[in-house]
């Protein structure tokens, strides 16, 4: 079998986080700068070694330009494509292509925001005015996800208790992660009894709003072993989007992950059964259920029943969102960066109490907008090349 030319073409050799949770007194760019510095240092490099910059921000209109200026980098290639919370997951694919094409050699992928400290609420440049929605006052983005959840419940009998399982599992993982923002017990009853925010969602069905920044350093496969950390190889990537506004989503129970996932698996030459660790963008509890279905880990409509009885929680049979997720770990507006960093830490074996034993492969699924842009990446250790 011939492999896709991008399979194994690049590797992550550095990761860094900064300001996750709350970082009052810090600007967004200071958090981005700190995460970038941490990732570059983790790779044993200097900022001057970076010649490709792939970055987004919640507040900067020309993000890769602003970020490069702040970091003191004059990149040979940069990209600030904004497709919502999946942007950085897409940037892994784009950085791999740019490196493969010789347009840059050492790429930085980065995002950060200070939105919890700066405003206390979600800040997103994706919340644009739509005259066909505005008169009805949907709350961006939660109402769109709530509509999807209502449809999934109606069509497949998915229950509030099943969605609560997702939040409880995420908290279970967060309790094993000292860096997670939320700690402490959380029961199904706690989730069900919480204040309703946007039906059918209560407070614990919704992701956090935190501060935080994350960054990754990507190089070609040929150079991957020249760095201090165990390299984590890019094995496959795929993207898809079908709509921007929720009223244009063809079927609210099927996301474009049902295309991005198979594209990534095809490139990697793998299938769901080959995956050891799953990092799925859980902006809301329904997301995890939809992505488990659409990526092929369970049949369509079965996601609610699939997550019952702690299957995706610590001690369950399928480790999902091992950092605690957007629901309990960190969510500074866009979250794709943080699932990338968590996947790398798992495959390096650096995840401490939440380490998935013998993890060799990981899937990272990024989501942007209102279930709009879907981007899947698959990573593996050297053994998977």
């Amino acid at each position: 079998m011939t492999h896709h030319e991008l399979r194994g073409a690049s590797a992550v050799v550095g990761v860094g986080l900064a300001g996750c949770g709350e970082a009052p007194g810090r600007t967004a760019m200071e958090l981005i700068g700190a995460a970038a510095w941490n990732a570059v240092t983790d790779a044993g490099l200097k900022m001057g070694d970076i010649d490709g910059v792939f970055g987004v921000s919640a507040v900067h209109g020309m993000p890769s330009v602003t970020i490069s200026e702040y970091l003191g980098i004059k990149p040979r290639y940069s990209d600030g494509s904004m497709i919502g919370g999946s942007s950085n997951v897409a940037h892994i694919l784009q950085a791999t292509m740019a490196i493969r094409a010789g347009l840059c050699s050492t790429a930085l992928v980065v995002y950060g925001s200070n939105q919890k400290s700066a405003s206390g609420r979600l800040v997103s440049s994706a919340a644009e005015f739509n005259p066909y929605e505005q008169p009805y006052k949907p709350r961006f983005p939660i109402t769109a996800y709530a509509l999807a959840a209502s449809r999934h419940m109606h069509q497949y009998g998915t229950t509030l208790a099943q969605m609560a399982e997702v939040a409880v599992a995420a908290r279970g993982w967060a309790n094993l992660n000292p860096e997670a923002y939320m700690h402490g017990p959380l029961s199904i009853e706690d989730v069900l009894n919480a204040r309703r925010v946007c039906d059918p969602f209560g407070l614990f069905d919704c992701c956090l709003v935190t501060d935080g920044a994350g960054a990754l350093v990507i190089v070609s496969r040929d150079r991957a072993k020249d760095f201090p950390r165990k390299p984590v190889y890019f094995l496959g990537g795929g993207m898809a989007h079908w709509h921007r506004s929720i009223m244009q989503m063809p079927d609210l129970t099927v996301t474009a992950a049902s295309e991005s996932g198979p594209r990534a698996f095809e490139m990697a030459g793998m299938e769901p059964a080959d995956i050891d660790v799953l990092e799925l963008y859980d902006a809301f509890t329904i997301n995890t259920i939809l992505f488990l279905e659409d990526l092929g880990f369970c049949p369509k409509g079965e996601g609610g029943r699939f997550v019952e009885a702690g299957r995706i929680a610590p001690g369950g049979t399928l480790p999902v969102n091992t950092n605690g997720g957007g629901l309990s770990c960190v969510h500074p507006g866009m979250y794709g960066t943080f699932i990338l960093v968590e996947a790398v830490r798992q495959l390096r074996g650096e995840a401490g109490d939440r380490q998935v034993k013998d993890a060799e492969t990981a899937i990272v699924h990024g989501n942007g907008g209102v279930l709009s842009s879907q981007v899947t990446s698959i990573f593996g250790t050297e053994a998977t090349l």
């Binding site: 008169p135 009805y136 209502s150 929720i246 009223m247 244009q248």
Partner: protein, 127 residues
Amino acid sequence: MTLEDRGPGPDALYREELLAGRFTVQTCADCGQSSFPPRVFCKHCGSANLERVEASGHGVVYATSAVRNRPDKGGDHNVSLVDLAEGVRLLTRVEGVGPTEVPIGARVKARIVGGEVPHVVFDLVQE
């Protein structure tokens, strides 16, 4: 051949009709399928032959949510997706029942509200 690109566009014409009390959708003269929101060519087949037609106003609730708000901020309100008989889907509000009481699958009928900023809401059809 190029598309018409001067004068009021499909969006402006839709709003003019709505102000005059008519809720319209576009129907393609070539493939017969409808589009909403209004656009300059058919999303389904690419044809430029889109005709503005008055909508039947008959629809079915596809999905529903209630945005919760404190009473001093206007209280809770419904947001729903409604599938029109013409085959298009609208983000809208269903009125006449509590914001959390809108049944998915229920038949609804369109009504124009909003005065100078007209928009379409739906009422439950009594079965």
